[in-house]
Amino acid sequence: MRKMMSVTTGAMVTLLTASTAVGLLSVSIDTPTVSAAKTKKLKLWVDTDTKPTYVQAVKDFEKANPSVKVTIKYTSSTDALKNLQKDPSAAADVFMFPHDQIGSLASQGLIYQNTKYAKSLKSTQISNAMKAATYKGKVYGYPYGIESQVLYYNKTQLGNDDIKSWTSLTSKGKMGTNLASAGANYIFSPLFYTAGDTLYGANGEKAKGTNIDNKKGVSVLKWMKAQKDNPGVVQSSTNTLSLLQSGKISATLSGPWSYNDYKKALGDNLGIAPYPTVDLGSGEKQMQAFLGVKLFGVKQDTKQPLAAMKLAKYLSSDKVQKLGFKNSHYIPSSKKVQASQNIQNDALAKAVVDMSKKGYSTPMPNSPAMANFWTSADALFNDTYKGKISDSQMLPKLTTLVKNASKSVK
């Protein structure tokens, strides 16, 4: 009896709630349709710290396109994939993302193919940027900037000639870099390019295209292992800034995001240059970095594809790239803007532009399988540096890494 009665009331309450929920639910599952309303509403996602650039750019865009109303929302561009995956219908029509997410975005059907403006972008943007905006032969992104690690050094401790090669850098000064903890993967994986191997095939999009399990790959690991005994190499990760400031290290490898901190620490003594050369056992070769390309994308289920594409195209235009450089210190991806006086006079921008050239950097692979590479590479690099891996184990370890790295696509 009691059981029955308790169930009665409980069930009533819950069922009522349930029916309300279902009622609402049937309303909300709508399908995206291309609407032809008079005012086209667009949502734009940009990084918080780029606010000055895009508030201005959107204002200009709206002036030129009075029928479009753009709302700017601030989210981290590195979370673009995660945010789009969570709920595409609530995502922005136009969004920023780092190019290595393009493979996942495209294969999950989250991003609109860039058919309309691909051709004109190809003529204005540097080739590496367009390569990064392309996945499996189709262009998806609208490039607006590039980033690459560069060499930061203390001019009072190192001269122009000292920074040419890793050997002289570490004999004349102290190189603070990270081989022993998380993050080593990003800095040192491009050494495989220097050695002549490839990650995820020539375009960085073939899951089974990693071929580092060979002699060249082993030479990279041997080099890493040797750095443990190099007195000119100081393990530094989080403490790089304070080591640089106190003069305990005289150089480090990092990206544009560190510029403000280093500038504050070293002032006019901060020198910036492309990567040095490195000797992996077969002579001096240019040390490579990953090139990161910053892209705008249009989400696949946007209700205003044409307006959204137009906005994305506008945000990657020379005018906005110039504005971005001025206001948010973005390094542009447009050939013309890169060649402009402002960029050429800026030490950081010039170094990054130099690094973006072929032979200095390679766009980070955009295969979705890359996610598996990162953790495995970190583990292997850390263990190698700490001397946990004997020379004879190197090849089998690389084979395992390749196997792990190829795993994502069965």
Binding site: K51, T78, K86, L241
Partner: protein, 282 residues
């Protein structure tokens, strides 16, 4: 006799020493956050403890930076935590009381099921919950956040039930003999005896919204204006900003800690006051 006193004094001294050392260990990180929040130079990592320059700038920046509207986040969190604190406390106590005091069929199995239900890791549930809320048209609002925080109350009653279990059943029985209904027993006898656990429950419920930086983010998405302090502060720690905003982050941490600390200090006497023994005497 004399030596016994000496031993006692020595023991007390050792206790003081131990307690002081521990107190220092517990205070240093807090002191460091406070000092960092006033530090005028450097970034996230410096190789000294005492700042070289002191400034209020980090605090000022928190309230003036339009990209990180900390003041608004603070009010949001205060609102959410107060409302959800009240509701959660009521619901948790209701559940705990029912399961401790009232007798009904299926209570035993229910306790087991409730215990177990909490144990499925919640990560993937987040997205399911997000879609349930979305279907009800409820995303991105503070009300939703309250709803979600409160919905956990139905299963988080174990400590409270343990407390009610320690209140002698004889009190209920004598009240029943006097003709009181269960509701009267609950409101007139049990609750007044339960101040400590009410305070404890309210405190836990109140602090929850200040600490959640994952679930709240899933619900709020790109609606920065409705962020709580936890998501807001966490969003300040990206690769680009982690160093330059670290001192403001510390300042934010100090500001968050202030209301909670005051509550803890003011309310701890309830917490530790001997109420269970009081009920036996009364």
């Amino acid at each position: 006799m004399h030596s016994l006193k000496g031993v006692k004094r020595r023991n007390t001294m050792i206790l003081y020493l131990l307690l002081t050392v521990m107190a220092i260990v517990w205070v240093v990180p807090i002191l460091w956050i406070i000092l960092t929040s006033f530090r005028g130079e450097g970034g996230a990592f410096v190789n000294y403890f005492w700042p070289k320059t002191y400034t209020f700038h980090n605090y000022v920046q928190l309230f003036t930076n339009s990209q990180y509207p900390f003041g608004r986040w603070f009010l949001n969190t205060l609102f959410v935590s107060i409302v959800s604190g009240f509701i959660s406390t009521a619901l948790v106590l209701a559940m705990a009381y029912s399961l401790s005091r009232l007798r009904f069929k299926l209570k035993g199995p229910f306790l087991k099921v409730a215990l177990v239900l909490n144990m499925f890791p919640g990560f993937m549930a987040m997205f399911a919950i997000y879609y349930i809320l979305k279907a009800a048209g409820l995303t991105q609002s503070l009300f939703t956040l309250i709803l979600v925080y409160v919905s956990g109350a139905g299963l988080g009653f174990y400590i409270q039930k343990g407390f009610f279990d320690t209140i002698p059943y004889s009190l209920d029985e004598s009240a029943m003999l006097d003709g009181a209904t269960k509701w009267q027993i609950f409101t007139k006898i049990t609750l007044p005896l339960s101040k400590p656990i009410i305070v404890f429950t309210a405190l836990t419920a109140f602090t929850g919204p200040w600490m959640d930086f994952i679930f709240a983010q899933v619900i709020m998405g790109d609606n920065v204006k409705n962020y709580t302090v936890a998501i807001g502060l966490y969003s300040m720690m990206t690769k680009e900003t982690a160093n330059s905003l670290f001192m403001s982050f510390a300042a934010g941490a100090v500001i968050i800690a202030i209301p909670i600390t005051i509550l803890f200090i003011v309310l701890q006497r309830f917490y530790v006051s001997g109420v269970t023994s009081g009920s036996v005497k009364g």
